[in-house]
Symmetry: C2
Subunit: 264 residues, 2 copies
């Protein structure tokens, strides 16, 4: 596996350029099949998952580092991205993490010195800042990093086993999403260009975790006036065809300043 080995060499050279002790982790949200999803990485040689994360270069702001991680994993730039919490407990490492690093190290034969640098780097304590991102799942192209085998969207309602405190980080991100719902460009970030009213409602329901009344939702949203109505969507089903809508981003952004009202 010369591939990993060369990656380790690259990493060894990068390590001195990173800020020690601090990392960023991204909770990248997408929306598909009426479910809220997050992008997760599957670690090589282990059946355990992790959030996409990375380190901060000494000459790079923390926000830029998060942006870089997001871009590397999804190919997307200029996406809504916001920090939500910094995790600073002492025990931010666990058995599975150490086991993983051992297995990775076993796969390669770098020089003793390189090996030591890399192991030491991963073994010391990190404080991590969590960011959440809102993406259109159809536009993203998930790409694993060198530590990982797979990079996949996983439904937040059935998350796989996650390393260290990453389950907690996702929980926190979802809570913040709920809390800040009225001030976030939920719809415009997570939905495709055109969508039906039910699509939008289901998205809100997925985030809020509770059902909303159909007719009232429709009236409320339309009254806010940030949607443009387009042609009807003929689904082929034996029922009335819904209109397609798109966001009038000017009006939408104006309204977001004040907050679009849904209590949680």
């Amino acid at each position: 596996m010369a591939d990993i080995e060369s990656q380790i060499k690259i990493l060894k050279d990068l390590i001195p350029k990173f800020l020690p002790g601090h990392s960023v982790d991204c909770v990248i949200f997408g929306y598909e099949d009426k479910e809220l999803k997050v992008l997760l990485l599957n670690w090589k040689q282990m059946d355990i998952w992790a959030l996409p994360g990375g380190f901060i270069f000494k000459d790079e702001s923390m926000d830029d580092a998060a942006q870089r991680v997001l871009e590397e994993r999804t190919g997307l730039s200029s996406i809504f991205l916001k920090q939500f919490h910094t995790f600073g407990k002492i025990q931010r490492s666990d058995h599975s993490q150490q086991e993983h690093h051992k297995k990775i190290m076993a796969l390669m034969k770098p020089s003793k010195q390189d090996r030591k640098i890399v192991i030491d780097w991963f073994d010391h304590r990190f404080i991590t800042t969590g960011y959440f991102a809102l993406t259109d799942i159809r536009k993203a192209t998930p790409r694993p990093d060198f530590l990982s085998e797979k990079c996949e969207w996983k439904s937040v309602s059935e998350l796989p086993e996650l390393i260290i405190d990453h389950a907690e980080i996702i929980q926190q991100a979802m809570h913040q999403l709920k809390i800040q719902l009225n001030y976030l460009p939920i719809g415009i970030s997570l939905l495709p260009e055109k969508f039906t009213m039910i699509d939008l409602q289901k998205l809100y329901e997925a985030i809020l975790g509770r059902p909303l009344e159909r007719s009232n939702f429709q009236r409320k949203i339309l009254k806010l006036g940030f949607l443009d109505r387009h042609e009807k969507l003929m689904s082929g089903a034996a029922n009335k065809a819904p209109y397609l809508y798109s966001f009038n981003s000017t009006k939408y952004e104006e309204l977001l300043e004040e907050g679009i009202g849904f209590r949680y």
Copy 2:
């Protein structure tokens, strides 16, 4: 000034025990004379102010570090304290900071080596996590740290000149205070045991930055039912005496879970 010199020696020995690159800063709020105040430190030899802050020991959680800073500067423990944002721009240092360190160094004659360790420590890049605290100003006893001359409560409406990005940190803290108002134990933390309805109203007004209608405020708060009514406060003024109230903390905490409703 052997005093500073011995402090520098202590600091030099502590530095290896700190996590490099990360600090905490506390925006400690108090309420007095109908004004929201924050506790600030005045740096020795300079007419510039700073937030109380500190570093994190390698075997200490970030929350504990913030708690320690709060306790060292106010003597208060078990106070409401919560992180609100992490500041990770590259240029988190400025001219006034460097000037200050030079002046401090000039005051003392430590060994060249000690001096280098301390200067290097302060000169490298820090990411800082901001915490805000809510305190009863009457119970706190402000104490300067060794870099500072004075430690005083300053009204948020007329802040003095602050180092680096500390003005921005306070702005952010105030914004979070406003946003989270309905979920924070504002009253019980910032007011004395007993207070009048107007006291509580003025506190809310100070945080929200806008006037509230007296009679409606009274009705709304009383209807929520977390206040116990006590004797009247005879002020000696030629007007009707207001009742004194205190928080029924059980009910208050129950309600805070759901949020006590004031739109901002």
